[in-house]
């Protein structure tokens, strides 16, 4: 029904889509799987008209089409349900369902008409809620169904679902899947993007594996096993990206951080110990609780329970200010929101911690700030003058500023939350080198990432967090992408490496 050929898209130096081809049959649920950065989301956004491709063809029923905006996509019968909810939380369910196309009678919005138009659909979706209630009072699962209903009201022929169940519990997911199966029988084609392989296998008819902006393999689900899919997602992409471990400094006493039964946010009862000189990796899907863990250790979030002993012998910091003063640092995952003052200079940003958080002289000395800026610009090889605005820099240089402002206080504990997100390969390599230096210099490094290769390439061991609990630890020979990916996606260790899928023989 819809097919794309050789789709390409780059953002600056980053290739999001290299040469993506895909063909979807009418009335099927077609899954697109791949690691972060494989190009799934960009592909979906191209189809939804949000992103313009640099090259390639999109064909609808055999005729080439140009999708130059969300409205064009809508007119072609393409509807998209986004990963993050795009509802207006304060407005009613009805108002949300009919955003921007409210039925009007005699110049006034007709609520009766809205109710009539959607009651049937809501019944089918099993969404029995007060349509006048604000959406924020609904559960996340119900909100997700409202989102779905809103798209379905446009009567799309092709429905794109980008991780639609990332916020759902298993019961809500079951309900969503029942709805999707119902839609399939009524002839709607669906493109389903997900990380979670178990679910992909539960619902989809056909699977396309993507990697590095290309499609690697497309096959019927019945001809695939989870193990094969994981193999396809990883590919052979080992290269010399990761610098070797440096010899540890001998003049610093070893330290450790001990976390016991820590709970808070999505995280529940996490216990582990991390020592200086090692890099401890944290893997987990979005929302699994890794960010919550880091926020708690940094004093940004209150813990529900549990204890932590930091290298200075004290417990958890009560505020981020206290954490900074005790030489605990956090490199947040959302760099632009939490890491930088974009309308300020490199110099200003690099003084954030030294001047902003620590005790000391009440004066802000321009000379000292300039020295600081020059020092970090040289050490981190930031491409920019001290007075250049942070906003004018590339992602890699911005991230170096976020790291650099912490290096100024010589931290003891480094919490790095996905520090290479949105950074080009060259800067990635430099950041890996920095992390090695942090660790060799006697720092305790906790490193979370959504990209498996860098976790495996850099870490001494990896703790996998699955739905709020530490599902397992891998190290040594166990530390391969297959094991870690299986753990992150299912929460269980792979049994004897290969597990035959139900009534399906492993293909050699």
């Amino acid at each position: 029904m819809i097919s794309v050929r050789n789709l390409a898209k780059r953002y600056g130096g980053v290739v999001a889509l290299d040469s993506m081809s895909l063909s979807v049959e009418r009335g099927t649920i077609h899954a697109v799987v791949g690691e972060n950065g494989a190009g799934k989301s960009t592909l979906m956004k191209v189809l939804a008209g949000v992103v313009k491709p640099d090259g390639g063809v999109v064909e609808l029923d055999g005729t080439p089409v140009v999708i130059d905006g969300p409205n064009a996509a809508r007119q072609l019968g393409i509807g998209m349900v986004y990963q993050e909810l795009s509802l207006f939380p304060e407005r009613s369910v009805l108002a949300n369902l009919f955003v921007n196309r409210e039925p009007v009678r005699r110049g006034l919005i007709s609520k009766r008409e809205m109710e009539a138009a959607c009651s049937d659909l809501l019944d089918r979706l099993g969404l029995n809620v007060d349509v006048d209630a604000p959406v924020s009072r609904l559960s996340i699962g119900e909100q997700q169904l409202v989102e779905l209903a809103r798209v379905l009201l446009e009567r799309p022929q092709l429905l794109i679902l980008d991780e639609p169940n990332s916020a759902l519990n298993s019961r809500e997911t079951e309900r969503l899947f029942a709805v999707l199966r119902g839609l399939r029988t009524s002839g709607i084609t669906m493109l389903y993007v997900s990380h979670r392989l178990e679910e992909v296998f539960a619902i989809c008819d056909r699977v396309t594996i993507t990697r590095n902006g290309r499609d690697v393999l497309t096959r019927d689900r019945s001809g695939l096993t989870i193990a094969e899919v994981i193999e396809g997602m990883i590919g052979q992409q080992r290269d010399a990206l990761f610098p070797p471990a440096l010899p540890p400094r001998s003049d610093v006493a070893p330290t450790e951080i001990v976390v016991s039964n820590l709970a808070g946010g999505r995280l529940d009862k996490a216990s582990f110990t991390a020592r200086s000189g090692e890099i401890v990796g944290f893997a987990g899907l979005e929302g699994s609780g890794v960010s919550d863990l880091f926020d708690m250790l940094f004093g940004m979030r209150k813990a529900r329970g549990g204890e932590v002993r930091f290298p200075d012998g004290r417990g958890m910091p009560r505020s981020a200010t206290e954490a900074a003063r005790r030489r605990v640092c956090l490199v947040p995952s959302d760099r632009r929101r939490d890491g930088l003052m974009l309308d300020k200079s490199i110099l200003f940003n690099l003084s954030n911690v030294v001047v902003g958080a620590r005790h000391g002289s009440p004066w802000y000395l321009a000379r000292a700030a300039l020295d600081r800026a020059r020092r970090q610009i040289e050490v981190l090889r930031i491409r920019g003058a001290p007075l250049a605005l942070a906003n004018s820099l590339s992602g890699g240089n911005q991230q170096k500023i976020v790291i650099g402002k912490w290096l100024e206080i010589d931290p003891q504990v480094f919490l790095l939350d996905d520090p290479t997100r949105g950074v080009d390969v060259g800067a990635k390599r430099e950041i890996y080198g920095l992390i090695r230096r942090m660790s060799a210099g006697g720092g305790i490094v906790l490193f979370s990432s959504t990209e498996l290769p860098e976790l495996i390439g850099l870490c001494d061991r990896i703790l996998v967090v699955y739905q709020g609990r530490i599902a397992g630890e891998v190290s040594g020979s166990q530390m391969n992408e297959h094991t870690v990916l299986h753990l992150t996606n299912t929460g269980e260790m792979p049994q004897a490496d290969r597990r035959p899928q139900a009534n399906q023989e492993t293909v050699a």
Partner: protein
């Protein structure tokens, strides 16, 4: 990535940056020149210094307001903090307290009012604009209760407090104006050369990032609101010393003029940045407009309209300049990438 910047040191030295206040200063001078050419009497030093004297009390508030805008907040209660502190100080003088001591207590009282604003804003995590919308009327009401709706006039004005503040040095420069200028310079240094000023700009620029860098954002907001209160108190007691009385309604219409002056001066509402010098010049522009109109024989009621028009003009120019700067930045970034 391997290519490093040619030489950052030289680059910073070479590029001399135009002070950002240059625009408003030019505007002020041009305005005065135009009025001066048409009505030479306007440029008489006596007139100019009395203009400066008129700028004093509102100008002080504008200096404090720069900190609030820089931290991405607005204090609406400044006029009544000014009034309430003045009333309290004047009442203490009436009660026979030494005027210097009463004035000092007045300043502390203003700081206390600021503390009230700050504590509410910080503990309830409310924007200061909401909190001060309420305290605006609370302070006004309490002040009216205390002064019983009448002007407070300290009977005994023989103290050196009154004579010092209302003196004109060399028969020209009012001491009150000098205090204002000293305050402005001091606050300029505080904003740009102290840790507190740095923190204010950091929190105003991006509160999330500030918190993630370990900056105690709540503490900084509290300090800023207390500083605003103390400056209102200072302005209030100076007013009592200068005029020898405080009217029950004085201060009620201050807040919009103060914010206008800060914005004309070039401090953005979006926070992260502020200019004290700009605010002082902005306040002078407003004064020049209203007195200039009088010199031209235009009815003084027009001055409100003209002040408003100047604000609109100033912010549109500002927007235009920013827009162009952003476009230039974008273009340079694209060339960097390719």
């Amino acid at each position: 990535m391997t290519e490093t910047d040619s030489n950052p040191t030289a680059a910073t030295r070479r590029r001399w940056r135009m002070p950002e206040e240059i625009g408003v200063v030019v505007a002020l001078v041009a305005m005065m020149a135009v009025i001066g050419i048409a009505r030479p009497r306007f440029l008489n030093p006596i007139n100019l210094f009395s203009l400066l004297g008129n700028t004093t009390f509102l100008g002080m508030l504008a200096v404090g307001m720069v900190f609030l805008l820089a931290i991405r907040e607005i204090d609406l209660s400044v006029g009544w903090m000014f009034n309430f502190s003045a009333v309290v100080a004047a009442l203490l003088m009436v009660a026979g307290l030494d005027p210097w001591l009463a004035a000092f207590i007045g300043i502390l009282f203003g700081a206390g009012l600021g503390l009230v604003n700050g504590l509410i804003a910080v503990t309830l995590r409310l924007p200061a604009i909401i909190v001060t919308l309420g305290t605006y009327s609370m302070f006004q009401g309490l002040s009216l209760v205390v002064n019983k709706g009448r002007a407070i006039v300290p009977a005994d004005q023989s103290s050196s407090f009154f004579s010092v503040i209302s003196t004109k040095l060399f028969g020209l420069v009012p001491v009150a104006a000098l205090v204002f200028i000293v305050l402005a310079i001091a606050m300029h240094i505080v904003l740009h050369r102290t840790r507190f000023g740095y923190r204010v700009q950091a929190v105003g620029s991006n509160p999330e990032a500030a918190a993630h860098a370990g900056i105690p954002t709540n503490w900084v907001r509290l300090q800023t609101l207390v500083l605003m209160g103390a400056i209102c108190g200072l302005s209030g007691v100076m007013y009592v010393g200068f005029r020898g009385a405080i009217d029950p309604n004085e201060g009620g219409d201050f807040v919009l003029v103060v914010i206008a002056a800060v914005i004309i001066g070039g401090t953005p509402l979006s926070g992260g940045h502020g200019t004290i010098i700009g605010a002082v010049v902005g306040m002078m522009i407003i004064q020049v407009i209203s007195s200039g109109l009088i010199f031209f024989g235009i009815d003084a009621t027009w001055s409100t309209f003209v002040t408003g028009a100047v604000i609109v003009l100033a912010v549109s120019l500002d927007r235009l300049i920013k827009f162009q700067r952003a476009r230039r930045a974008e273009r340079s970034r694209e060339t960097l990438r390719s």
